[in-house]
């Protein structure tokens, strides 16, 4: 049977079975993790556990079914490695604490789709400040390209196209790096040229 780790009202417990979890009186604020998940998730997003929330014992038969399906995976889920396997909860706890970080404009869009505030995806970095610095100080052509990518990052983010926004953000970062590299290369190169000219 699948083992769960639970974080509820600041207390972390686990490994536990579904039956044990049912006795805790959990509500929607709980976070859960089991092997196979990359990180902690809200309990509401785990289908077999969200039934526990209302407090009815109805889903008992149902999770017995799921349990039998999961038997082949059992060896992986040996709770020996308990402490190490559980990802750190720090980032999860921190996430809902600063909901204002999310731009209200973007939030409205997600609100219509019923996404809770803390789960609204954040915009990937635009690197705009670095692009401007690169434009006025280093090699400016890639700097301008960096500003273009900053614009595209925000544009795709606002359209809800997160994958493309992330890609544009990465390109922008590369443009800034390229700008700094070109600036660093041209520095000794132009000095060497000057010395060469003087020697002639």
């Amino acid at each position: 049977m699948r083992q769960y780790w639970i974080n509820f009202k600041g207390n972390q417990q686990g490994p536990m079975s579904i039956d044990q979890l049912a006795q805790l009186g959990l509500d929607e604020s709980a976070y859960v993790w089991h092997s196979g998940l990359p990180d902690w998730v809200k309990i509401t997003s785990v289908p077999e556990l969200s039934m526990l929330l209302s407090g009815n014992a109805q889903p008992t038969e149902q999770h017995h079914e799921t349990a039998s399906e999961e038997v082949p995976e059992l060896p992986e889920q040996e709770p020996e490695t308990t402490g190490e396997d559980v990802p750190s909860l720090d980032n999860v706890v921190e996430e809902p604490a600063h909901p204002q970080q999310v731009a209200p404009v973007q939030y409205q869009q997600y609100q219509q789709q019923g996404v809770p505030l803390e789960e609204v995806p954040k915009c990937p970095p635009t690197n705009l400040v670095w692009s401007i610095i690169a434009t006025v100080l280093c090699c400016s052509i890639p700097g301008i390209v960096g500003i273009v990518f900053a614009f595209l990052t925000k544009k795709y983010y606002r359209e809800g196209n997160l994958d493309k926004a992330q890609r544009m953000s990465d390109y922008g970062a590369w443009a800034v790096i390229l700008s700094i590299m070109l600036g660093l290369i041209s520095m000794p190169l132009s000095c060497a040229m000057n010395i060469f000219k003087m020697a002639m």
Binding site: H98, Q100, Q101, V102, A103, P104, V105, C123, T126, L128, V129, I132, I133, T135, V136, L137, C138, C139, S140, I141, G143, I144, I147, V148, A150, F151, K154, K155, R158, L182, G183, S186, M187, P188, S190, C191, M193, N194, K197, M198
Partner: protein, 129 residues
């Protein structure tokens, strides 16, 4: 702060301090000194002025408190400094006051910055400032 971060911050601060010192003491615009300062690769190869051309001379003038001189060498740099400060402030206070950060990172704002930079680059190559 981790040790790595402290080392990194100190290193960056030292480099900035060194650069400030060099640009304060040495004048990149004097004929004797100019050959020791790095040339803009864009100007070097194309003969066209890029938006960053003149920044070294402008920084030298700025460090001597000569705002008009700095404006003369690179007005865009002078315009960029308050804008960058504004971006930093917006980033620091964005948890409590997200509005400023949202406005500054709005696609329309970014496209405005881009237009200003491109327009200025074209203008300085036409009229030669």
């Amino acid at each position: 702060m981790t040790t790595k971060r402290i080392v990194l911050t100190t290193l960056v601060a030292l480099i900035v301090l060194l650069a400030v010192l060099v640009y304060f003491v040495l004048d990149p615009s004097s004929p004797a000194m100019s050959k020791y300062f790095p040339k803009c690769p864009v100007y070097w190869f194309t003969g066209l002025k890029c938006p960053g051309c003149g920044s070294q001379r402008a920084i030298h003038e700025l460090l001597h408190g000569n705002l008009a001189g700095a404006m003369h060498y690179n007005a865009l740099l002078m315009a960029a400094i308050p804008v960058l400060v504004l971006y930093l402030i917006a980033d620091v206070i964005k948890r409590r006051y997200p509005t400023l950060d949202n406005v500054l990172n709005h696609p329309a704002t970014i496209i405005t910055i881009l237009t200003v930079v491109v327009a200025w680059t074209i203008a300085r190559n036409i009229w030669g400032f």
